[in-house]
């Protein structure tokens, strides 16, 4: 963390359609280690919300426990959020999304919170296609407890004090694909040019959007021999496909039209355009996604929007939940009264 709060100077900054600068989307001062990837992810959230012209109070931030889970305090200081129990963030998000589908649900979790203690909750949130952006800030270690291997540590990666990991890692992207997730992406905290558009596309997606973000732990996992260090990630970083969110009012420019770019219309309006980077790959094809991930070469870190399906119903649709948030619903509709209750009860008699 820093010794002083970032000074607020914004007269030079670009204002979005709401007249706000990026600074209006920031939160409190980060207490993470200097150079933590998570702070870059925070900055990417700030940028994505600003660029999408979303009001800073239109998000609900939910998290569990861990360094990653602290970060929800560092962006969108004007929105509500819950820092919940370890690994239980998906349940809290489910409840919140059920009663108020009007907000953008942002879950921030880590490899420990999602792939160890919370893997069951994570799996079921995907299964019910909860409408949220779920980010895993993935650094391969338990940073908050001084650097033990997490469930995403690669075979052969070295811990800070020399141990070598021999257990196979859980890849959240493969897991999400096999569970039927409708938006699966991987990013890197060091590449906001890719990450910010991914976040924007995920916010425009209706359903569960996973972004697994390689976000190095600068204190316990940024050394030689680590496969989640900045140097290692830069060396093997391999963007496969570039996704851009194009809002409704904007035109899809020629840049996307050549090279066989794919355009996916989004449920909430606007389009996601997918530009191939080198490989022939269609992220709308789940089999191709599996194939790509299973046949990656060596230590390649494949990134981009790896799979997208805009057709599946989300949790609200499947359960026929009202579109109207309960907090603005007319009381007589919300609580129809004892006569109605009696009528319902009669149905069971």
């Amino acid at each position: 963390m820093t010794s002083i709060v970032k000074p607020r100077i914004d007269k030079h900054l670009r204002r979005n359609q709401l007249g706000l600068t990026v600074r209006d989307y920031e939160g409190v001062m980060s207490t993470l280690c200097a150079g933590c990837g998570h702070d870059s992810v925070t900055a990417a959230f700030v940028q994505a919300f600003h660029e999408m012209n979303l009001e800073p109070h239109r998000a609900a931030k939910v998290s569990g426990i861990g360094c990653s889970s602290k970060t929800t305090a560092y962006f969108l200081g004007q929105s509500s959020g819950i820092n919940s129990v370890h690994g239980r963030m998906p349940s809290v998000a489910t409840g919140a999304a059920a009663v108020n589908p009007d907000l953008y649900y942002i879950g921030v979790s880590g490899d420990g919170d999602s792939l160890s203690i919370g893997i069951g909750q994570f799996a079921h949130a995907i299964r019910r296609n909860l409408n949220m952006l779920y980010c895993i800030e993935n650094n391969g270690v338990y940073g908050l407890t001084k650097g033990q291997f997490s469930a995403s540590a690669d075979i052969g990666t070295k811990a800070k004090y020399g141990e070598v990991n021999e257990q196979p890692p859980i890849d959240p992207v493969l897991l999400a694909l096999s569970l039927g997730a409708t938006f699966v992406a991987r990013g890197f905290s060091g590449d906001k040019k890719q990450l910010v558009p991914l976040m924007k596309a995920a916010l425009a997606h209706k359903g569960f959007a996973l972004i697994d973000i390689v976000s190095p732990c600068v204190t316990f996992n940024d050394h030689k021999g680590s496969t989640k260090s900045y140097a290692h990630t830069y060396e093997y970083y391999h963007p496969v496909i570039h996704a851009d969110f194009v809002p409704e009012e904007a035109e899809i420019t020629a840049e996307y039209q050549d090279g066989g770019a794919i355009t996916v219309p989004m449920h909430h309006g606007g389009n996601v355009t997918l530009r191939k980077l080198g490989r022939d790959y269609d992220p709308r094809d789940r089999d191709q996604a599996f194939h790509l991930l299973r046949t990656r070469e060596g230590s390649e870190v494949l990134t981009g929007l790896l799979y997208i399906d805009e057709t599946k119903p989300d949790m609200g649709d499947m359960n026929r939940l009202p579109d109207e948030p309960l907090n603005v619903m007319d009381y007589s509709k919300l609580c129809p009264g004892s006569a109605k209750l009696a009528e319902v009860m009669k149905g069971y008699s």
Partner: protein, 602 residues
Amino acid sequence: MKPTDTADPDYFHKVVDCQWACPAHTPVPDYIRLIAQGRFTDAYMVNRRSNVFPGILGRVCDRPCEPACRRGRVEDEPVAICRLKRVAADHKDEVADKLPRAPIAQNGKKIALIGAGPASLTVANDLAPLGYDCTVFEALEKPGGLMISNIPSFRLPERVLDEEIGYILDMGVKLKTGHRIDSLKALLDEGYDAVFVGSGAPKGKELNLPGRQEADANIHIGISWLESVAFDHVKSIGKRVLIIGVGNTAMDCCRTSLRLGADEVKVMARKPREFFKASPWELEDAEEENVEIVVNHSPKAFVIEDGKLVGMTFEIMEYDTDERGRITDTRVVGEKTIPCDDVILAIGQENAFPWIERDLGIEFDKWDVPVVDETTFESTRKGVFFGGDSAFGPKNIIWAVEHGHQAAISIDKHCQGLDVSERLPRGLNLETAKMGHNEWAYSNGYDPSQRRQMTHVELAKRFKDLDTEVELGFDPQQTAVEVERCLNCDVQTVFTASACTECDACIDICPVNCLTITPNGEEADLRQRLSAPADNLDQDLFVSEDLPNTGRVMVKDEDLCLHCGLCAERCPTAAWDMALSEIFLPHADDEAAERARRRAAE
């Protein structure tokens, strides 16, 4: 772009905008930090080293530093640098024992200095401690040049002048007042080893309009009139006074008139306000005293009745300007006569050298101004040097001081038989400001306070006499706030590309978005694709060596950097560091010390 050469002292010097803009390159942030620590004497001495007259300049400097101040770009108002300089001068302890003294044995070289203004006094200040026998010739009865004759004492009290000029005279400099030099040839014949001409630009410009001769008794040339007031030759003026011109001399004339009995003073400007030459703060101070500034009035004639001045006729002007604000067309749209008792002409001043014989080998150009080398200040005759307003026309005190410093180097070299154009280069020293984890050797927090306003003596009290100083100086509270407004631009952001892991931490935390990691490119292209477009072309881009992981470069736009050190606090590998920079700007004593070192080495 090529990687920035930060070993070039000018690169980091330029980042310290105030110091770079100051002709004498006063290390402003350095002395502001000393003031913040209550070390007023040390702050004064840091100032004095470069600008020689901190007490004087702390009141009346033209302040080129303030428009340059980064704080003025970050928010609206620059740091009140000039006011803080005065704080150091006002609150210092005795400094006499800290000043250089003349050595016991002089070096046998005699220097004549013509005019006891800031330029000559600076030369004497630099040379007397090296053993030179300096004699200053002054036509007036008191030393100071325009500082005493043209700047009214309600802005610059005489005691301040006496004190700071006294420090120089106390070094054994000889002063001959009331001694006008009428012939340079005669002076040269007296066998001086070098002559420095610092006689200023003493001739006020004339306005030859109908009626000028007849009304001569009530028409005054600004700088001569101010001089007569300063030396008590003029003690009153008419009730209604028109000042022609809107430079700083005009401001002094109108405010002086008010103190000599005038009660309706108008400053007549030919052009609109944006073309005024006066400093904005001098205009404000005059307007505070209810001086009316009338724009778009071009003088046409003096109106005489019964042989006496009764008014002045003006043409009313209209101007067309282009989108850059330049005048493209001028029209006369009317005429107006304004009654008055006196007129003061303050439309500029020029050099005059009737006392320099033209056969001495001193070349004059087509405007009849001596040809002077811009680095060495030497004329075309070896051993004769010019500085201050007499070198390149009217500028200001701080320029005169810098001319004096440079001329002193040349005079020293000339007298030692060395090449005057071979001068010590500028230097740079960087020392990390890191004291511990997120602890810095300076106050790195950003204080959003607004610029403090100077308190003035009440209007009712200030017109009683000529000598009541209007500005009261900053009080401790004002000082405490103002020092924290300084951004410490001399604590430089120093980048080591080989240590960078490209984690983006510095970019995310930078409060003014001045950092970017990006593929390299040409400057014009780079400027467009930074975190925030770098559209202030006066400010440099720092471009690093290629970064180890991706071969991209770190680019920093120097325009708005707050020097808050957050990049360095957030950097996990100390690739960014905050380092205190000291710019070495050699004076005559540095040249002498270097010579001594070399001699000792041989």
